[in-house]
C-alpha cells in the first residue's frame, strides 16, 4: 500500500500529449458519414503519454489491499489465493484472440475445456446438467429462479410466485426474486442459526415457487435439518434453490444435489478461485436436477463423438433463453477449468476440509481471547460470525470501528453488518489457503484492538490512521453525489 497521493488522470492531461505508438495509423476523414451524425466536441478523455498512464495506474494499484498483498478474510467472499497459472494459461494468445462467433472448427480446444468444466461441476455438486453462461452469482440466481418459474409454468402451475428466503439470506436472493417477477418472503431463523422449520411449514403452500438457501448458511453454520426442509418444500410443490456462494465449505463432503436441491449456482470466482478483479468478472454457472435440465440457459457445450459444439434454443426449445450476448465469461471459465484440473479430485476435497479447519481454529482462538461468537454452540463452517455488541455497549466501539482499525494492522476487514440479523457482527472467512501463522497474526491484532477499545477508544473510532485516506464520509458522498470529474472552469 502506498500513501503517496495520486492525481486524477485528467489532471495530468495536456492537449496534444498522447501514447502515439499505441494508436493505429490514421485514415482519411470518413466523408461518407452524414455530417448530422458526426460528433462535434471530442469526448473528455485524458491526453497523456504512455509513461503517464503506466505510472498513474501502477500507483493506483498500489493503493489497494488484495489477496496478493494482504490477508483478506471477507466473509461470504472466499478470498483465497488465485493461482497465477490460471491467469497465464487462460491468457494464451489463441484463447484471447478467439472470436465468440468463430466456427467450432476453430474452437475445439476451447470447447473441450468448457465441456469438461461442465462435467466437473456436475460431479462436485451432484447435479445433472450445467450451463456456464451466467456471469456472476446473482446472474446465476436469476437463471435459477427463472428456471423454477419456467418449470411451474410448463406444468401450468401458474400461481407460484413466492420465493422463500431465510432472514439471513444475502441481498441478491430477495433481489433476484423481484428480478424474476416473484415476491420474496422471509423465513425466520432460529436461535441456533438453523431455519425455523415450523415457520417454514406454515409459510409453504400453493403459491410457493421455491426456497433459496445457502448451506452452510450465511450465519456460518450448516443447516442441519436440510433434508426436512427439502421435504417440506417439495411436498408443497416448491423447488429448492442452492446459493453456491458457500460451496467452498462443503467441497468433497456433501453435495447440494444429494441434499435435495433442484438448482444451484456456483460462484466460480469464489469456490474455484478465479480472481475477483476488484469487483468482477465472476462466473455463476448453474447446475440443475433432471427435471430442470430442459430449461437451462443457452448456450451450453455439447459433445458429439469427438467433436464439441454449441447447443442453443434449437437443442433446448424450453430454455429460459439467453442471458448475455455470447457465452458468459469464457475467460473466467477457463481459469476455473485450470484451477479444478490442478486441484483434481483430491485437491478439491481438501478445500472444504482446510477451509473448515481454518475457520474453526480462528473461531476457537478468538473465543479464547474473549470475543463472542454469534452461535457459540455451533461448529463453524468455512466462516463464522463474531458479535461485538458487548464492545459496542461498553466502549462505544462498533464492529465498523474494529474493521477500520484492522486495516491499520495490515488486515483487510471481515464483512461487517451482514448478515443483518446479528448485531455488530463481523463475518470472518479465512479460506484454506492461509497459513496458521497468518491466522495467529490476525487474532493478535484483534486482541490489540480490543485493548485499544478499552483504553484508547478514540484511536479505534478514528481509524484507519495509516492508509492513503482517513475514514471517508459516506453520507456526504450520497447527499452530494460527485460522480464524474469536471474540469475547473477558468
Amino acid at each position: 500500500m502506498t500513501n503517496a497521493a495520486e492525481q486524477i488522470i485528467f489532471e495530468r492531461s495536456r492537449p496534444g500529449r498522447g501514447a502515439y505508438s499505441q494508436w493505429p495509423e490514421d485514415s482519411e476523414p470518413p466523408d461518407d458519414l452524414p455530417p448530422a451524425l458526426r460528433r462535434g466536441r471530442p469526448p473528455l478523455l485524458p491526453e497523456v503519454s504512455e509513461l503517464d498512464a503506466v505510472r498513474h495506474f501502477t500507483r493506483l494499484s498500489q493503493r489497494n489491499f488484495s489477496i496478493d498483498t494482504h490477508f483478506y478474510p471477507l466473509g461470504s467472499c472466499t478470498m483465497k489465493y488465485n493461482p497465477k497459472a490460471c491467469n497465464t494459461y487462460a491468457m494464451l494468445p489463441e484463447f484471447l484472440g478467439r472470436h465468440p462467433l468463430a466456427p467450432v472448427s476453430h474452437g475445439q480446444g476451447f470447447l473441450a475445456c468448457m465441456y469438461e468444466l461442465q462435467e466437473m461441476l456436475k460431479a462436485v455438486t451432484g447435479m445433472q446438467a450445467v450451463s456456464l453462461s451466467p456471469m456472476a452469482g446473482a446472474h446465476g440466481e436469476f437463471a435459477g429462479v427463472a428456471m423454477i418459474r419456467a418449470y411451474h409454468a410448463a406444468r401450468d402451475d401458474l400461481a407460484r410466485d413466492e420465493i422463500l428466503v431465510p432472514a439471513a439470506a444475502h441481498g441478491t436472493n430477495p433481489a433476484t426474486a423481484t428480478m424474476c417477477g416473484c415476491v420474496a418472503r422471509e423465513i425466520p431463523v432460529g436461535p441456533d442459526g438453523d431455519v425455523d422449520v415450523a415457520a417454514l411449514r406454515a409459510a409453504v403452500g400453493p403459491t410457493t415457487a421455491g426456497i433459496m438457501l445457502t448451506n452452510p448458511s450465511t450465519l456460518g453454520v450448516f443447516e442441519r435439518r436440510i433434508e426436512e426442509v427439502a421435504r417440506i418444500v417439495h411436498e408443497a410443490g416448491g423447488l429448492l434453490y442452492y446459493d453456491g456462494a458457500n460451496l467452498n465449505a462443503i467441497l468433497g463432503k456433501v453435495r447440494p444435489g444429494d441434499m435435495g436441491f433442484d438448482v444451484i449456482h456456483m460462484n466460480l470466482h469464489k469456490t474455484f478461485s478465479t480472481p475477483h478483479g476488484g469487483g468482477g468478472p465472476g462466473a455463476g454457472a448453474v447446475g440443475v436436477s433432471r427435471r430442470l435440465a430442459p430449461f437451462l440457459p443457452v448456450p451450453i457445450v455439447g459433445r458429439e463423438g469427438e467433436r464439441y459444439r454449441w447447443l442453443d434454443e434449437r437443442d433446448l426449445p424450453q430454455s429460459i433463453g439467453r442471458l448475455s450476448a455470447f457465452m458468459g465469461n469464457a475467460g473466467v471459465l477457463l481459469r476455473a477449468y485450470v484451477y479444478m484440473r490442478m486441484l483434481g479430485r483430491e485437491g478439491l476435497a481438501r478445500v472444504g476440509e482446510f477451509a473448515t479447519l481454518n475457520a474453526n481454529y480462528l473461531l476457537a482462538r478468538l473465543r479464547q481471547a474473549g470475543f463472542d461468537a454469534a452461535y457459540p454452540q455451533r461448529r463453524a463452517s468455512h466462516e463464522f460470525i463474531l458479535t461485538l455488541k458487548r464492545q459496542a455497549r461498553e466502549f462505544e466501539v462498533t464492529a465498523m470501528d474494529f474493521a477500520k482499525r484492522l486495516l491499520d494492522y495490515g488486515y483487510h476487514a471481515p464483512t461487517t453488518y451482514f448478515p443483518l440479523l446479528v448485531p455488530e457482527c463481523l463475518l470472518i472467512e479465512p479460506t484454506e489457503t492461509e497459513s496458521r501463522e497468518t491466522l495467529d497474526g490476525f487474532v493478535e491484532a484483534m486482541v490489540q484492538i480490543g485493548r485499544e477499545a478499552e483504553t484508547r477508544a478514540d484511536l479505534v473510532k478514528g481509524a484507519p490512521h495509516t492508509l492513503p485516506v482517513r475514514r471517508l464520509d459516506d453520507v456526504r458522498a450520497a447527499r452530494h453525489p460527485d460522480l464524474t470529474w469536471k474540469p475547473a472552469v477558468p
Binding site: 485528467f10 495506474f57 497465464t88 494459461y89 480446444g109 462443503i250 469487483g279 473448515t356 459516506d474
Partner: protein, 457 residues
C-alpha cells in the same frame, strides 16, 4: 499439499486448539446420510506443468485465424500496457471495494471510468459496469420502466435490427417482470429503422424505444428523428452504442433535441480481448435525474476525516445489499477488472487515438466492402451509410463459402441467414484497424477463389 499451507504439525495443533480429534469431526453437524466419500467424477490433479502443456496444445489447436468477424465483438489492438497493469495482483486479486480506505486504487479508477464513459456518451452519470452489452440493455429496459413514472404499459419497442442476442437477452431477463418487447421492422433497402415506423404507436403508452446505432448491420440510424419522435410520443429512448464509434459519431446525449435517456453498450472494444465472448463489460450512462434508478455500483468522490478527497461506493440505497427485494437490480459482482482495463485503454488512446481507431476501422471496412463488391455476384445489401461493419448479399449460399475460407484460416464474416432469413444469402463483414492492406487482399483473393470453387461445385 497443493494450495494448502498446513503442515502436519499445524493440523495437530489447530485441532487441539479447537478441541477436535480430526478434521472429519468438524463436519459432524452434517447428516451422515448425506456425506460423500470423494469426488470421483473429477479427474486426478494435474501439476502446473501438465496443465500448461494441455492448455497450450488446446490453444494451438484453435489457432489464430485471420478474422473478419464483427457482430458485437471487435478485434482491436490492445496496447501491451493495458493488461500488464490490469493483471497486477493489487487490481486482479482484490474484491469489490467495500472497504473504501483499503481500495482507493480501484475506486479512483472507477471514478475516472465514470467520467470517461459519461463524456463519451454525452450523458451525466455512469455506473461501474454491468455484465455485458446485452444484459445492460435488459437492465436499461427495467430501468426505463422505473424511471418513466407516467408510463404504465411496460412496453418497449425494439427494432428488428437490434442485435438478436441483445433482444433475446432482454426478453429472457426483463420479460420475467412482465415487460413486453415489441418488434419494429427495419427498412429492407436501408437496413435502418424509418422514423415512420413509430407512427402506428402514436397516442399509445410506450415506455421506451430502443435504438441501436450503428445497428446490427453496421447501418447508421436517423437518431435525431427517432429520438425526437419517441420523445414526442412520450417514450424514453434507450441507446445501444458501440463506444469506439462515439469517437466519430454524435453521442446519444446529443441525439435529437433532448438526447437519449439511457445509454448502454458493450465495452469490449475498449481494450478487452475477444476471448470467445467474455469477460467483457456492459456500460450504462444516463441523466443525473435518473441516477438513483441505475443498477450497479457507482463511485463518488467525498472527503475523509481530515478533509482530504477520497473515493467510495455511493448511492447504495439502490443496491441489493441495502435494499434487498426493492433494489434496482440483483447485480452484485460486475465486470470490474474489464472496466479497469478499459480505463487504461481509454487513457492511452485519448480522444485522438480513439478517433483514429474508429476512422481506420471504418476505412478498412469500406475498402473491404469495395473490394468484395467488385466480385461477380456480390453486392452491398443496404444503401445507407454504415460504420465499420457491413452486410454483403451474395448469389450463393454463404455456409460453404465460409467453410472454405475457414479451411484456409480466414474467418470470412458472419452468415446472417440464421438471424435474418429474409435477407437471403448475406454476410456481415468487419475489418478493424488490425487489418492491413495485405490482409484485405488476402481475404479478397481467397473469397474470389472460394466463390468460383463453390459455384463450380
Amino acid at each position: 499439499m497443493p494450495f494448502i499451507p498446513h503442515t502436519e504439525e499445524d493440523v495437530r495443533q489447530m485441532l487441539e486448539a479447537i478441541g477436535a480429534q480430526s478434521i472429519e469431526e468438524l463436519f459432524d453437524e452434517i447428516p451422515a446420510t448425506l456425506r460423500i466419500r470423494g469426488l470421483d467424477g473429477v479427474p486426478e490433479a494435474m501439476r502446473e506443468q501438465e496443465i500448461g502443456r494441455l492448455m497450450t496444445a488446446r490453444a494451438h489447436a484453435d489457432g489464430r485465424p485471420l478474422s473478419f468477424l464483427g457482430g458485437g465483438a471487435y478485434e482491436h489492438h490492445i496496447p501491451a500496457a493495458v493488461w500488464a497493469i490490469a493483471t497486477r495482483g493489487e487490481f486482479y486479486s482484490a474484491y469489490t471495494p467495500y472497504q473504501a480506505e483499503a481500495s482507493q486504487g480501484t475506486l479512483q479508477a472507477i471514478y475516472e471510468f465514470q467520467t470517461m464513459m459519461a463524456s463519451l456518451t454525452g450523458m451525466q452519470v455512469s455506473n461501474a459496469s454491468l455484465y455485458d452489452g446485452a444484459s445492460a440493455l435488459a437492465e436499461a429496459a427495467l430501468m426505463a420502466v422505473r424511471a418513466h413514472r407516467r408510463s404504465k404499459s411496460q412496453r418497449i419497442l425494439v427494432p428488428a435490427n437490434v442485435h438478436p442476442h441483445y433482444r433475446q437477452t432482454a426478453v429472457t431477463t426483463a420479460g420475467q417482470q412482465g415487460l413486453k418487447f415489441e418488434s419494429l421492422p427495419y427498412d429492407p433497402r436501408g437496413g435502418h429503422l424509418a422514423a415512420e415506423g413509430l407512427v402506428p404507436y402514436a397516442g399509445q403508452d410506450v415506455t421506451a424505444l430502443v435504438i441501436q446505432h450503428p445497428n446490427v448491420f453496421g447501418v447508421l440510424e436517423d437518431v435525431d428523428a427517432l429520438t425526437d419522435r419517441a420523445h414526442a410520443q412520450g417514450a424514453l429512448v434507450i441507446a445501444v452504442v458501440n463506444p469506439t464509434s462515439l469517437a466519430l459519431l454524435k453521442p446519444p446525449g446529443e441525439w435529437g433535441t433532448e438526447g437519449a435517456d439511457i445509454v448502454v453498450g458493450e465495452g469490449q472494444p475498449l481494450g478487452v480481448p475477444l476471448s470467445s465472448g467474455g469477460p467483457y463489460f456492459g456500460f450504462m450512462t444516463t441523466r443525473t435525474e435518473y441516477a438513483r434508478q441505475m443498477p450497479g455500483r457507482i463511485v463518488g468522490r467525498t472527503v475523509d476525516l481530515a478533509g482530504h478527497a477520497g473515493f467510495t461506493l455511493t448511492l447504495q440505497a439502490r443496491e441489493q445489499h441495502i435494499r434487498r427485494g426493492k433494489a434496482t437490480s440483483n447485480i452484485c459482482t460486475n465486470q470490474g477488472l474489464m472496466m479497469t482495463a478499459a480505463t487504461i485503454y481509454l487513457s492511452m488512446m485519448g480522444p485522438q487515438g480513439l478517433a483514429r481507431v474508429a476512422r481506420t476501422s471504418h476505412a478498412r471496412t469500406r475498402d473491404l466492402v469495395a473490394a468484395l463488391a467488385r466480385l461477380p455476384g456480390v453486392r452491398p445489401a443496404f444503401d445507407r451509410p454504415f460504420f465499420h461493419e457491413a452486410v454483403l448479399r451474395l448469389e450463393q449460399p454463404v455456409g460453404p463459402l465460409l467453410e472454405q475460407l475457414a479451411a484456409g484460416d480466414i474467418l470470412g464474416g458472419l452468415d446472417l441467414g440464421a438471424w435474418y432469413p429474409e435477407l437471403g444469402s448475406s454476410l456481415l463483414v468487419c475489418a478493424t484497424e488490425t487489418k492491413s492492406d495485405t490482409d484485405l487482399e488476402r481475404y479478397a483473393g481467397a473469397f474470389s477463389t472460394a466463390l468460383s470453387a463453390v459455384r463450380a461445385a
